[in-house]
Structure formats: structure tokens, C-alpha cells
């Protein structure tokens, strides 16, 4: 037993001969905002794909809430309480905004044929529950009133928020955000930061992969730095900023940014 919600044990991943992750260990404490940074190709998204079960071809162990989820299928991991967003927005374009969020609820309602066919009342109740919760999540990210819009009619910033709402609709205890800030303008960035803090207040642990140093430094409790698949540093924002290895990798860039 421990206070951590997610543990990675000696995780290695190869793409052919290329080592994308090399024996990475990490512990994410429950309730924190844990950020993963590093140059392009450092293995950040790869790590997300392993945790969420997207990619099951790796070595090592992933433990979520003291339960091994190594090599589990993505839907099984999602049902256990891990939700994620995608670097390149992956919404369901054939569904409306509200329906997209509703899909997020499907893990905990587990829809059944018998209920849909015979249980008129039960399935109405189920639909109402889903709809109410989906609306709540839309409001949470500030997209209320866009329920029936087409996904493609939303601006990129709104689509990114919609993905967060969809992930939150799954009632996760761990949320993986893959570059939530990419492509956002300053105003949207402030809004995103607020949503991340609000999510933290809900006691949802967040792991965030992000390039925007300003955002990372102001929201993170703990930061892990990856470079070419190897963990080179871990600590609170201040210690990361003063870490020589990190400065070397970033060529002193974050000193200016901070």
C-alpha cells in the first residue's frame, strides 16, 4: 500500500532497434499534478500510450491503485479509472458535442441490449443520467450551450476542452492530458489552467505532457524530465529549473521562460 495512484516500474519500450523508453521508474502521488516534459521524441506520448493500454508491447510494470494494469486492454484500463486525451484531437465527428461527452459515460453505465429493448423506463433513466452528467461536464469546461453543435464547427481550443470534458465524463481518478495547451492562444491557455486546477480540486490526479513551460511551471506539483527515453530528473518545479542536466538538455531555455 502507498499514497501513490500510479507506479511505473522499469518501463522499457523499443520501436524496432530504437529504444523509446529505457527502464523508466516513476511514482505519481494521489491528487497531484504530475508533469512530464522533455524534447520531442523523448518518449512522453509513448509513455501515455503504454499507461492507457494503447500500446501493450513493452517491458516493465504499470500499477494503478495497487493493481497491476500492465498489458491490460485500453477499455479495461479506462473502466478502472484512467482517462486520457490525445495530442492530436480525436473526437467522434459523427456525434454532436453533447453526444461526444456522453460516450465518456459509457464505461460506467455499461449499456445493455436487453435494457434498450425491453426496459423502457430503465433506459430512459439511464439516458437522463448520462445527459445530465454530460451537460455538467460541458459546463465544467465552459462549453455549455454548444450541446447540439457539430464537433467540426468548434475551434481547436474548444475541441481540446471537449476532449477534456469527454475524459472527465468517464469519472476517472487519473487523467492523462497529452499536450492540452498545444495550439491554444493566451486566453484559452488561462482558461485551460483554471480547468486543470478545478480538476485537481475534484481530487482527480493528473499527468500532463506539455511543451509550454510557463504552464508547466505554474501548475505542476512534480515534474519528470525525459530525454531520449531516459529519466534525467524528477522533482518540484524549482528543483527542475535549477537542475544542471535539465538546463543542458534545454540549452538554458527555461531560465528565460521562468
Amino acid at each position: 500500500m502507498n499514497d501513490s495512484i500510479l507506479n511505473g516500474r522499469s518501463i522499457s519500450k523499443y520501436f524496432g532497434g530504437l529504444q523509446a523508453l529505457c527502464r523508466v521508474d516513476f511514482d505519481v502521488e494521489s491528487g497531484v499534478i504530475f508533469s512530464i516534459i522533455g524534447p520531442n521524441g523523448a518518449g512522453k506520448t509513448t509513455l501515455f500510450n503504454l499507461i492507457s493500454g494503447f500500446d501493450r508491447d513493452y517491458e516493465g510494470e504499470v500499477v494503478f491503485e495497487d493493481e497491476k494494469i500492465t498489458h491490460n486492454l485500453p477499455h479495461a484500463i479506462a473502466v478502472k479509472g484512467v482517462a486520457r486525451t490525445f495530442q492530436n484531437v480525436r473526437l467522434f465527428n459523427n456525434l454532436t458535442v453533447l453526444e461526444n461527452v456522453a460516450v465518456g459515460c459509457h464505461g460506467w453505465v455499461s449499456p445493455r441490449y436487453a435494457r434498450a429493448i425491453f426496459g423502457l423506463k430503465a433506459s430512459r433513466r439511464e439516458e437522463r443520467t448520462i445527459e445530465a452528467f454530460a451537460r455538467e461536464m460541458l459546463a465544467f469546461v465552459g462549453l455549455e450551450g454548444k450541446d447540439n453543435d457539430e464537433v467540426e464547427s468548434l475551434a481547436l481550443g474548444e475541441q481540446k476542452l471537449l476532449e477534456i470534458a469527454r475524459a472527465l465524463a468517464a469519472k476517472p481518478r487519473l487523467l492523462l492530458l497529452d499536450e492540452p495547451g498545444a495550439g491554444l492562444n493566451d486566453r484559452e491557455m488561462d482558461n485551460l489552467q483554471e480547468i486543470i486546477f478545478k480538476t485537481k480540486e475534484q481530487k482527480i490526479t493528473q499527468i500532463i505532457v506539455e511543451h509550454n513551460m510557463k504552464l508547466i511551471m505554474s501548475i505542476s506539483d512534480q515534474i519528470m524530465v525525459l530525454n531520449f527515453g531516459t529519466k534525467i530528473a524528477e522533482g518540484d518545479p524549482q528543483s527542475i529549473l535549477n537542475n544542471e542536466k535539465v538546463i543542458e538538455v534545454y540549452l538554458g531555455k527555461e531560465k528565460d521562460l521562468a
Binding site: 493500454g53 477499455h75 479506462a78 467522434f92 459509457h106 464505461g107 434498450a116 433506459s123
Partner: protein
């Protein structure tokens, strides 16, 4: 507003009064067959229009339902309802077993694999054991609790009642979480899985459900015709299902019915130009996909600004 609130009542009313306006039994027969094929298309729409999984093997599922019913009634003397239930059960079982490996495939691989299944079934029903090319004859009329549906008109109402009941069932499935799950799987399987949707199960369920409807249609087909032969169950049937679905509008559930009605009525209007049938169907196929990818229902929705 949903377009089926407008179209379905009109469709139901038209079907209801049609035999009164056209008592000619020939037309009734045409519409009975349209209803039977429409029933397959309705289930097929959940699989293809909603879930995005193509099957070119539904002729095989239809055949299994028809042959199971024919064998149960003629060889073993089972009552109709039991024979139909048996047909549906065995078809679902086979669909389940076939679906597990094949539904892992995507796109045209899935199309070709399911087509292979259709060929296997066709080959099996051509064996002498199952009556060879002359098939099975002497299937008794459908009777439920002593009432025999032995007139065209009674059978017409029976078939269309079943069709509309199942349209409502499929609309319910499509409009609730199950339908959304299927649509999510259709667009992005991986993203759907990350939302907690069991993608493999969603596909299998849709396949088995559509198989159940195909089997039911097969049973109704066998009981109506009293004789079934392998020629009614070849790959062309699956191709026609596709045409009916896309002509009517995939993803609308009831659109396939409109497609089936048009496709069955069309040859009757052609008269001695019957040879043009294939040509016109082919042309319709191409024009619809190019100009009206949402089918007639999709076009209507755009016109009336409905959902």
C-alpha cells in the same frame, strides 16, 4: 426534430392502407418480399451504418435462418414459432463464432472474409443432404397458436408488423448509449476504447443482433414461399442489401426500408424493359454514393433541416 417522426408514420400508414387500395395479390406479394428484405436491412444498418462494420456474408445468415426453419418444420415437424426461434438461435450462435475472428479485420479485409463465409454457407446448402439445387419444399404456412397465416394479406400484415416493431427496437438501440458506442467505434476505435467501450464486444453484439434479424427474415421467407432453394441466397443478396441501405440512407434505421421498397417495386414498373433492371440499379448505386451519400433519408433531412 428527428426525421423519423415525420417519415415513419407516413410509411406505416401507407403500408397499412396499401392492401385496401391495391387488393391485387401480386402487389401484396411484392411488398411482402420487400418487407422481408427490409427486415434484414434494418438490422444490417446497425452493423454498417452505426457500427461501421461491413458484412458481405448476410446472405449466409439469411440462408441459415431460412434452412433451419425449413428443416425444423418439414423434417421434424416443429411448430412455426419454435422453428423460427431455433433458426434465430443457431444463426446467432454461428454469427458469434464467425464474428470473433473476422470482426478483428478492418475495411475490405472484413468485407472479403465475410464474403468467404457467405460462400461457405452457399456451398453447404447446395449439398444433396440439404436438397441440392432444388432445395427444400413443403414448408407449412406459418401458424401461431392455431392461427394460420395462409393468405397473402394476413402474411403481409404479419411481416410488416414485425418489420415496424423491429424498426422501433433498432431506433431505441441506436438512440441510446449502445448506438452512440457503435458510432464511436465507427469513427475511432482506439479513442472509443479509451472511453471504456469494449470495442470487440460492441462489434460482436451488433453482428449477432443483425444476424438475428437476418435469421428472422429467413424464417419468414421460408414460411411464405413454402420452398427454398440455394439460388435465393447467393452473394447478390448481400450486394442488394448494400444498395437498399445506401439508397435509403445508412445510419437512419428506417431508410433501408425505403430502399427495399424502391428496389422491389422498380422491376414491376419496368415491364418489358426488365433487362434494364441491373443497369438501373448499378446507376443508382453510383449516383447515390456520389451525389447523395446520406441516401434518400439524408437528402430529405437536409431539405427539411431535420436531424
Amino acid at each position: 426534430m428527428r426525421s423519423y417522426f415525420v417519415v415513419l408514420p407516413i410509411l406505416i400508414a401507407s403500408i397499412l392502407i396499401f392492401p385496401l387500395a391495391f387488393p391485387d395479390s401480386y402487389w401484396i406479394t411484392v411488398l411482402i418480399y420487400a418487407g422481408i428484405y427490409g427486415l434484414i436491412v434494418v438490422g444490417y444498418d446497425l452493423l454498417l451504418g452505426y457500427c461501421g462494420q461491413i458484412s458481405l456474408g448476410h446472405n449466409g445468415l439469411f440462408a441459415i435462418g431460412a434452412y433451419a426453419t425449413a428443416i425444423a418444420t418439414t423434417w421434424f415437424g416443429w411448430p412455426s414459432l419454435l422453428a423460427i426461434a431455433g433458426g434465430i438461435f443457431i444463426t446467432c450462435l454461428i454469427a458469434f463464432v464467425v464474428g470473433i475472428p473476422t470482426l478483428r479485420l478492418k475495411g475490405y479485409y472484413l468485407a472479403i472474409a465475410t464474403m468467404g463465409f457467405g460462400f461457405i454457407v452457399e456451398a453447404l446448402i447446395r449439398t444433396q443432404f440439404l436438397g441440392g439445387s432444388s432445395g427444400i419444399s413443403g414448408i407449412p404456412p406459418l401458424s401461431i397458436l392455431g392461427y394460420s397465416f395462409d393468405t397473402d394479406r394476413s402474411y403481409y400484415y404479419l411481416v410488416w408488423t414485425v418489420v415496424f416493431l423491429l424498426v422501433i427496437v433498432c431506433l431505441r438501440i441506436g438512440e441510446t448509449a449502445l448506438g452512440r458506442s457503435m458510432k464511436a467505434v465507427h469513427t475511432d476505435e482506439e479513442a472509443a476504447a479509451c472511453m471504456g467501450i469494449n470495442v470487440a464486444r460492441t462489434k460482436i453484439q451488433a453482428f449477432v443482433f443483425s444476424a438475428a434479424l437476418a435469421a428472422l427474415a429467413g424464417s419468414l421467407y421460408a414460411h411464405y414461399g413454402a420452398i427454398i432453394s440455394p439460388n435465393s441466397f447467393n452473394i447478390m443478396l448481400s450486394v442488394k442489401l448494400l444498395l437498399m441501405l445506401f439508397l435509403g440512407g445508412a445510419g437512419s434505421i428506417y431508410g433501408g426500408l425505403i430502399g427495399a421498397l424502391i428496389l422491389f417495386a422498380l422491376p414491376e414498373f419496368l415491364g418489358h424493359l426488365e433487362r434494364l433492371e441491373l443497369l438501373l440499379e448499378g446507376l443508382a448505386f453510383m449516383l447515390i454514393l456520389i451525389f447523395l451519400p446520406g441516401g434518400l433519408v439524408g437528402g430529405l433531412n437536409k431539405l427539411l433541416r431535420l436531424k
